[in-house]
């Protein structure tokens, strides 16, 4: 029991705060703030209109309560919607980035110096409300790949943004998506041209630094016909007593024969052992697949006080494929309500859902998923597997799958199990001289293998370590 306790009781390594001069908007949310954000970003008129319309819609909406999570609703007038590290005019070279910020990222293990990167990963770094640096931009541009912050994209490629933004996640989709549409400050934009296979992993690193702010980022990723891209997303935040809000929207567009692989390692500050503080992670992620396209979501969720996240696929084109692989770890007082939606519209569409939940301490984890097969989706196929592992008798694990079938040729399977770590497995390891703690790490890693295998290599290693850390002290 002690070991279990120890294993789940490790500290959050990324909880430091970096003092950088920042440029902040006053607290509160109204039209003036939205105008100010838009002006700061030098956005065209249509973008401002778009934001204001979203704001109008948001005002009419109420915060959803259906998720299996309990939290004190944030006061939306008590949040700073814009906060940016003060920066010099342009950021062409690394020297112009605030050295404090550079140090921050070194501490996080992310080097912004292109020379120093060992592996081919291009990074877009977002601190609070703005993107501070995008690496390898020029090199990617040679191949026609556009990888930049969304603010730059709105200025430089307005037609493309205008054409696709809000097409997958409409402004009025839900409360948090509407809020995001009104006030989103930055995020990444990526376009892969026809037939191009992106040579390196693209990645965005999100960090909330300032107190009292929320982060509202928006990611738009377009893979043109026959292209391929693998995209990574990571995030951390300082330790604070208050709950910070992170409401993001991610839209993926996979045109005919394109493939997008989107991986997330989410490690927002989860709050302390008593459940004080932590990030509220309310995210809307959705992708649309045209003919023969494929979208694959992989997520490792270890952070956040409250997670509310359902990366989804709309399988619109014939023969398109959607995949969802998830490991969600909750500890202490964390709550996670996560899952996916697979909406089959086209013929011969396939989807796979593998969800692994691990609950420890007094946390609660839920899988909530929807598999919908429309009347025109001939020969649609879905396989879902949702397993939960319980560590300790005070945690809760729940499964809420929704399956709606309107076509007779559909083949849908859903399976879920809930159990604890097998004592015989532990005994077997102990017998062979493996200490209980390591044995648990071993078993948990084996349990998550299906998902971890989907991650790009460097990430898989990181995720594996992260799993060990988040469960440290939770064996019981």
């Amino acid at each position: 029991m002690d070991i279990l306790d120890k294993v789940t009781r490790s500290d959050y390594k990324y909880g430091f705060y970096t003092k950088v001069d920042s440029d902040r908007a006053p607290k509160g949310l109204n039209e003036d703030i939205i105008r100010m954000i838009s002006a700061k970003k030098q956005e065209p008129e249509w973008m401002l209109e778009w934001r204001l319309e979203a704001f109008e819609q948001w005002k009419k909406m109420t915060e959803p309560e259906w998720a299996h999570v309990k939290y004190k609703k944030p006061n939306y007038q008590d949040i700073t919607y814009y906060s940016a590290p003060k920066k010099k005019k342009s950021l062409d070279s690394l020297d112009e980035v605030d050295p404090e910020l550079l140090k921050t990222f070194e501490k996080l293990g992310i080097s912004l110096d292109e020379q120093k990167r060992l592996s081919g990963v291009a990074v877009d770094v977002v601190v609070d409300s703005v993107s501070v640096k995008t690496t390898f931009r020029k090199k990617l541009a040679e191949m026609g790949i556009i990888f930049c912050s969304i603010s730059d994209a709105i200025r430089e490629y307005p037609e493309m943004v205008k054409k696709y933004i809000g097409t997958v996640v409409p402004r009025g989709d839900n409360f948090f998506a509407a809020l995001n549409s009104a006030v989103f400050t930055d995020g990444s934009f990526c376009y892969i041209p026809k037939g191009v296979r992106c040579p390196m992993e693209l990645s965005t690193y999100f960090r909330i630094n300032e107190a009292g702010t929320g982060q509202f980022e928006r990611t738009l990723l377009i893979a043109d016909e026959g292209s391929y891209v693998s995209y990574l997303e990571g995030c951390t935040a300082p330790m604070r007593d208050e709950n910070q809000l992170h409401a993001a929207v991610v839209e993926l567009i996979a045109l005919d024969n394109a493939e997008i692989k989107y991986s997330t390692v989410q490690n927002w500050y989860p709050g302390d052992k008593e459940g004080v503080g932590g990030v509220f992670n309310f995210v809307t992620k959705r992708g649309i697949c045209e003919r023969n396209a494929k979208i694959s979501w992989t997520q490792v969720e270890t952070g956040s006080a409250v997670t509310w996240k359902y990366p989804s696929c709309i399988l619109k084109g014939d023969n398109s494929i959607g995949e969802f692989y998830s490991v969600a770890v909750t500890n202490n007082y964390q709550q996670a309500d996560t899952g996916t939606k697979m909406i089959h519209l086209g013929r011969n569409t396939k989807s796979t859902i593998i969800s692994k939940g691990i609950c420890a301490g007094k946390s609660e984890g839920s899988y909530r998923g929807l598999v919908k097969i429309g009347p025109r989706a001939q020969n649609a196929r879905n396989f879902s597997q949702c397993d939960s592992l319980l560590m300790g008798d005070a945690c809760g694990s729940h499964t809420f799958p929704y399956i709606e079938i309107k076509n007779k040729s559909a083949k849908v399977e859903h399976e879920a199990t809930t159990s604890k770590i097998g004592e015989d497995q532990l005994f077997y390891c102990n017998q062979r001289g493996i200490p209980t703690e390591e044995a648990i790490a071993l078993i948990v890693n084996g349990y998550c293998k299906d998902v971890l295998n989907q991650l790009p290599m460097e990430f898989a290693v990181e995720a594996q370590k992260l799993l060990e850390v988040s469960l440290e002290g939770s064996v019981g």
Binding site: S388, A394, C395, S397, E404, N407, S409, E413, H414, K420
Partner: protein, 439 residues
């Protein structure tokens, strides 16, 4: 819906005045608080998570008669086919909500198999102790039933008795000029180590629209064994909202079979509370639907105590425009360690216009448990079909054989021979083939 709700609320005052002496009894206090619950909550709508896939609005937009006249012209030979047997069962028969003594065979020897109304008069202590304690009075439709509860079946088996014959409960509604709304209320109390088998049926004998809002409470005491069968093969205009709540004490076993073959809208709310260790709940369901029929099975198994077990198996076959809804929830309470809970829901879709919405849920607050659920939706195996046809079995019969085989898992364990035969015939008729399926 509001109109009918208002009608029900004003009918309650009329109903109260009919009660005479019963008004001062404790059970009536329950009725009063229940009508308040119904008044505040009203009919559930699709905005309620529990009613997401089943819309009651078209049903309650119509007007129904709440008070009925008794019908005495019905004779046994006219309705013989709805019974399992002429003489080998106890029968509690109701017509339009009134007890039909000439069609029933009740008993007070060793155990009581009689009516809820006579229990209200004669067994005040049992009513006060159990009635309304098991059902979910916070549910608006259960509350509506409670507020008008007066008639239904009452079965009380004392400790250590085995009921020698199956008990049949049948609710008939007859053709009148108006649409009929009835609200039967049943109470089943099975004493320690006692056993009984119950078969329940709702049957409309006319073409008018009928809605039954039925509530059944079952208490299985220590070591009791209860098997409850619900046969739902009603007329195309008849709808049923059935709420059955079962409370199980130590080492008791309750098996509940639901056979849904007919009716316009059938909603089954089954809720099991396993309150003491060693209790075992088995839920089996078969739905074979066609036309515009809808069946909505909502089951909840509450594992409140450790060392309990629940098995759930639901099979559905949907043809034409039929719709199936399955919502199964297993709720394991904190400290209910060593729980075993299994749930399976398999469905066959035969046309593109039929649809299925299924939502198997697990809510688990204890760690040393084994819980699983599985759910599949598919079609008949083409290879198996080909195999049968190769051997000269016509397409329709081959299909029927495969479909019957698909359902047999949920038919196993039926103990009453007459019932088995009857179900085989019903299934054959439902699949429109002339095969004598033999279990």
């Amino acid at each position: 819906m509001d109109q009918f709700k208002d009608k029900l609320l004003s009918s309650f005052i009329v109903f109260e005045n009919q009660l005479n002496g019963q008004k001062n009894k404790p059970f009536h206090q329950l009725r009063r608080s229940a009508i308040d619950t119904f008044e505040t909550k009203g009919f559930p709508t699709v905005r309620d998570e529990e009613w997401k896939y089943t819309n009651l609005k078209p049903l309650f937009k119509k007007d129904y008669n709440v008070f009925h006249s008794s019908e005495e012209s019905l004779e046994f030979r006219d309705i013989r086919r709805y019974f399992l047997s002429e003489s080998d069962t106890y029968k509690i028969v109701f017509i339009n909500g009134f007890f039909a003594s000439w069609l029933s065979s009740t008993t007070h020897q060793n155990y009581d198999v009689c009516t809820f109304s006579s229990a209200l008069e004669k067994y005040q202590d049992i009513i006060d102790e159990y009635a309304g304690t098991i059902a979910r009075n916070e549910d608006s439709l259960t509350a509506l039933n409670t507020s008008f509860a007066r008639e239904g079946a009452f079965i009380h088996i004392p400790d250590g008795k085995v009921v020698d014959r199956p008990i049949e409960i049948i609710f008939f509604t007859t053709d009148g000029d108006n649409n009929t709304f009835i609200q039967p209320r049943n109470l089943v109390v099975v004493g320690q180590n006692s056993q009984c088998n119950i078969v329940e049926r709702h049957q409309s004998l006319g073409n008018q629209h009928t809605v039954s809002n039925c509530v059944t409470e079952v208490l299985a005491k220590k070591g009791a064994q209860v098997t409850y069968h619900k046969i739902q093969n009603d007329a195309p205009n008849a709808s049923l909202i059935d709420s059955t709540t079962v409370k199980q004490e130590k080492d008791s076993t309750v098996t509940l079979h639901t056979f849904s073959f007919g009716g316009k809208l059938t909603r089954n709310n089954l809720e099991f509370d396993l309150v003491e260790p060693g209790a075992q709940a088995n839920l089996y369901g078969i739905s074979i639907l066609n036309d515009y029929q809808l069946v909505d099975n909502h089951t909840v198994v509450n594992h409140i105590s450790p060392h309990c077990e629940s098995n759930e198996l639901y099979k559905g076959i949907f043809d034409d425009h039929a719709r199936g809804v399955f919502n199964g929830k297993v709720h394991v309470f904190p400290h209910a360690q060593k729980t075993n809970a299994f749930q399976e829901n398999n469905n066959l879709l035969l046309t593109d216009t039929a649809s299925i919405d299924t939502k198997p849920q697990l809510e688990i607050y204890a760690d040393d448990v084994k819980c699983s659920h599985g759910c599949t939706i598919g079609q008949l195996d083409e290879d198996a079909l080909f195999y049968l046809r190769q051997r000269g079995i016509p397409h329709k019969e081959a299909q029927a054989l495969l479909m019957f085989a698909f359902t047999t898992d949920a038919l196993r364990g039926l103990k009453i021979g007459e019932l088995k035969n009857k179900l085989n015939r019903l299934i054959a008729r439902k699949l429109s083939v002339n095969i004598d399926f033999d279990l």
